[in-house]
Symmetry: C2
């Protein structure tokens, strides 16, 4: 990232044309996001920077006639960990498609590995062609630690926020999800906001469905952006209150169709297009990343130049990166995407830091703490998942609702696991500190008829979540997960059916997009064979342990009544 | 300025509506510069901040029905000293007209009093309702000091820039006028740029008529804005290269008419309207300040909302003040102008820091160095202006060209002052360090038939410049200027005809707009009576000593051949 701070004195003679540029893109149709125009020009590049527009000569000249030159795309809000790819492999997947920078909320790895994990990810990011700007996660763990509802791997308090904001590469406070804490003036969340303000750092918000006076109060806190709007009205209200509105178009959450009419009718300088990390590996492979979102925006009738601004100069200005990124003009980093076709965003080639030869060739040794060993549990036995039945009483059962993240609380009598009624056992095994904590309960609606499935992706604390048709397979799946150092394990009759190792924090693979997507497909096919017909079974599992989305969840401490933020028993009194 | 850093936690309950706001503007037509719309809403204000939009109750409620609420205007580029008013009196003149913030290049006072002068002006500014953000002047003195062409009061090198950028209230490096130095890689100007970059400070540019590769090179340096465009084409080229284009509309330089068609056809987020300090006292009184420029823009057919953006959110974004200024939304400073009429910008009332009661009432003691004593010369005698005539040779005479800042170099034989041929004597008397330096020469085209005129406003070094029909009156005018501590003196037969004292650095009055404008009119009437019929006689005098605008100038070191940057004799060899 050194071209941002380098003196440009040495390239002045190249701008003046007295020395040839390193590369000149001849006769490109420049999508000029500063003036909002498209016109033909040469683009001269030297030492990684754009040095001139007009007519230039270069040591290397690329005929760009009939191609469009747009600035490298910037995803204003993502979570790389959600791709299950390492930063290096993620970069390999998205840069060739035109995304050259992302603003990353390292929320997931922070829950597992804390500040050290973030540091390792920042360091890994530096070895990639992708520019990764990190936001210090604001809500780790997801619940108030004083309530003791779960055991995360790490906590990020306001002191850690201070530490993170002092780190090179960390530019702000990530989505302040605890909007109710902001409005009710909870101390810790306000301390984090005040630390961020003292650093003059960017503060991203997260205010789903917040409106009226509550939204005014939230904006007043300093949280300056939002990526949760699902309607025209919601987005307009946020924009009017001065927020930056990030329009999310992911694999699951698709908000563009609803919000495009707004983008077509108002000043869009304060709007962006983002993925929010919500791109499945399949979609990433087949459709693309932010390039896909851009195509979708143009499909929705947004003027192409405006659409490009939404993912270049607009995020650059919000994140105060516009001195270096987001536009093609002298002094800016030469991150340029050449397109054969603007409407379809058909990539011809990508230039990063002034070169087309940006793919890193050297091998890399991942420096994450507990790399390949992030699951720390003792050998489990079937008895660890035993539940003392109270037959006279009804049980609290977690009810999965297909297509939603909300769960139901179901009250039924039971005599243990009952695959006929689709009542399975669910466990959450603490995996960070050898506490031995195991929460056990029942879940309905998952569909598994045989075996068990365990995953170390379990928002937000990322303990092991395991669902099974019998305790033997549940214990086996967890022990196997321990052996492979985190990931996803599907087993039946104490044999592995399919598995995906995620050696980085139990969240990310060290393999490439094709391999991981292939493994994931295999897992999905197998779990379907075993009876689970859900649309996204592994995402479903991963959210069952998140005690901030109603109604009933489970953590390593037991069942959680989310609305009352307390641990409850399996059986009603 | 403390509402920028204050915690907003204490006003959350007001935003929530559980506690009444201090003031609520009821049913205002809000000009929402974030979304680019106008619609009706209440605006709730508390502790100097805007806390909510929507429907609010206040301890004080102002019926704003049928009025327009716009953010306080921000002049992105001015020089307060050029008004001859102190910051306090300048604020009194412009705030009631809707300008609540200015970005000020303290170039003039820096030439006289250096860092201490800037500090005093920053301190004075803090006592006013006007928000003054200072830019560290980049070219003090105007010429390369190593050439010894003039004696300024102070120098601002890169070390002083560092000192200034560390000061609270100084936010950037002012217009880098030395564009040729930038392009030819002169060390000192580059050091200043690199200091500013290290501070992540704003860097304003100044690139009149620069184009093509030279402009690319200049932009590459980091100078990010320009306020010198005089044509559609010039402004468009700068905008396309990523510069912020400040469109200047002053009393002398009027660029709006030429550039308005561009503003009507492109994305204007990177454009602003500015005065460049170019408002005569008369125009300030009669037409107004930035409010006048805004009216002019609307007259030129620019959409009113866009026009308001050009002097609110746009400068706020460029100067990184948009977390606090430039829009009306929760958390922003409550600097609001209520208008009876948007098109004519007819001000109903101005709210500053959340109150209409913003006029400072306490007396103020100016703390400028050498206050009222900034002229430091010994008693002058007529002989000090003697010139040894060389009758066989032609003399180099400074030729005034009416309506231009350029001067001519006229070669004529002469036998001394000759009012019949309009050849007068001109002197520049060093006034900062008692050096005793006096440069003497001849000037043609000024028209004075009797007496002399002396001024301590003499760009950029602000020594005394004196023009006379005889040496007795020249000495008298200078001595009188010394006695009154700087300003402008018009005398005849060794009697004061009219005078204006400028006790602050010999540049600024401590009187109000009405008084100073009245004095200036008197001086203009009197000098016209005495034969000088120029449009702007005192501005003309003030530029005759500026050795950076061709062709022939005079400093305390003698005549200066500007193009060759050297001192030349009065007589040709």
């Amino acid at each position: 990232m050194n071209s941002r701070t380098m003196s440009t004195k040495d390239v002045i003679d190249i701008a003046l044309g007295t020395i040839k540029a390193d590369i000149v893109l001849k006769n490109a149709n420049l999508v000029n996001v500063s003036s909002g125009e498209i016109y033909e020009t040469d683009i001269a590049i030297a030492r990684g920077l754009i040095v001139g527009l007009g007519s230039y000569k270069g040591r290397k000249e690329i005929d760009a006639t009939d191609t469009y030159a747009v600035p490298g795309l910037i995803d204003g809000h993502t979570h790389i960990e959600m791709s299950m790819l390492s930063v290096r492999e993620f970069a390999k997947a998205v840069v060739p498609r035109g995304t050259t920078a992302v603003i990353d909320d390292l929320h997931e790895i922070a829950n597992v590995l804390g500040v050290e994990g973030i540091q390792a990810m920042v360091e890994e990011a530096r070895t990639t062609p992708l520019k990764v700007f990190c936001m210090a996660p604001s809500c780790v763990p997801s619940t108030d630690p004083s309530r003791g509802l779960e055991t995360p791997g790490a906590q990020i308090g306001h002191e850690e926020i201070k530490e993170l904001l002092s780190m090179d590469g960390v530019i702000g406070l990530a989505e302040v999800m605890n909007y109710s804490g902001v409005i009710t003036k909870e101390n810790e969340v306000w301390k984090k906001i005040e630390v961020a303000k003292a650093f003059k750092a960017i503060i991203d918000g997260h205010a789903p469905l917040l409106s009226g006076k509550a939204l005014n109060a939230y904006v007043l806190s300093g949280a300056g952006s939002d990526h949760e709007s699902v309607s025209y009205k919601e987005a307009r209200e946020k924009l009017r209150l001065g927020m930056r509105v990030m329009v999310r178009e992911g694999s699951a959450a698709k908000n563009l169709n609803a919000i495009a009419p707004l983008l077509n009718s108002i000043d869009t300088r304060n709007c962006m297009l983002v993925t929010d990390g919500d791109r499945t590996l399949r979609d990433l492979k087949v459709e693309g990343y932010l390039d896909h979102v851009l195509r979708r925006a143009i499909e929705e009738g947004i003027d192409p130049v405006k659409a490009v601004q939404l993912c270049t100069i607009n995020p650059a200005q919000w994140f105060k990166l516009d001195d270096w990124l987001g536009s093609i003009s002298p002094g800016k980093c030469a991150d340029i995407v050449l397109l054969n076709n603007l409407e379809n965003f058909e990539v011809d080639s990508v230039i990063v830091n002034g070169t087309t030869d940006w793919a890193p060739r050297t091998a890399y040794t991942y420096s994450y703490p507990h790399y390949g060993k992030s699951v720390k549990i003792r050998q489990l036995q079937p008895d660890d998942f035993a539940i003392k039945l109270e037959r006279a009483k009804k049980a609290r059962i977690i009810g999965h609702i297909e297509g939603e993240l909300l769960t139901a609380e179901i009250a039924e009598e039971l005599s243990g696991i009952d695959t006929a009624r689709d009542i399975l056992k669910i466990g959450v095994v603490e995996r960070h500190h050898y506490t031995g904590n195991i929460g056990v309960g029942f879940v309905k609606g998952f569909g598994l008829k045989t075996g068990a499935v365990a995953s170390s992706i379990a928002h937000d604390s990322h303990n092991i979540v395991v669902i099974g048709t019998n305790e033997e397979d549940m214990a086996f799946a967890c022990n196997r997960l321990n052996a492979i150092g985190g990931g996803i394990v599907l087993c039946s009759e104490q044999k592995v059916v399919s598995e995906l190792a995620l050696p980085i924090a139990g969240l990310m693979s060290d393999k490439g997009l094709d391999d991981v997507a292939q493994k994931q497909r295999e897992l999905e096919e197998q779990i379907s064979e075993m009876g689970c017909k859900l649309q996204a079974p592994f995402i479903t599992i991963s959210f069952l342990a998140l005690p901030v989305i109603p109604k009933l969840r489970i953590t390593d401490k037991g069942l959680v009544d989310v609305e009352n933020q307390k641990i409850v028993g399996i059986f009603y009194n």
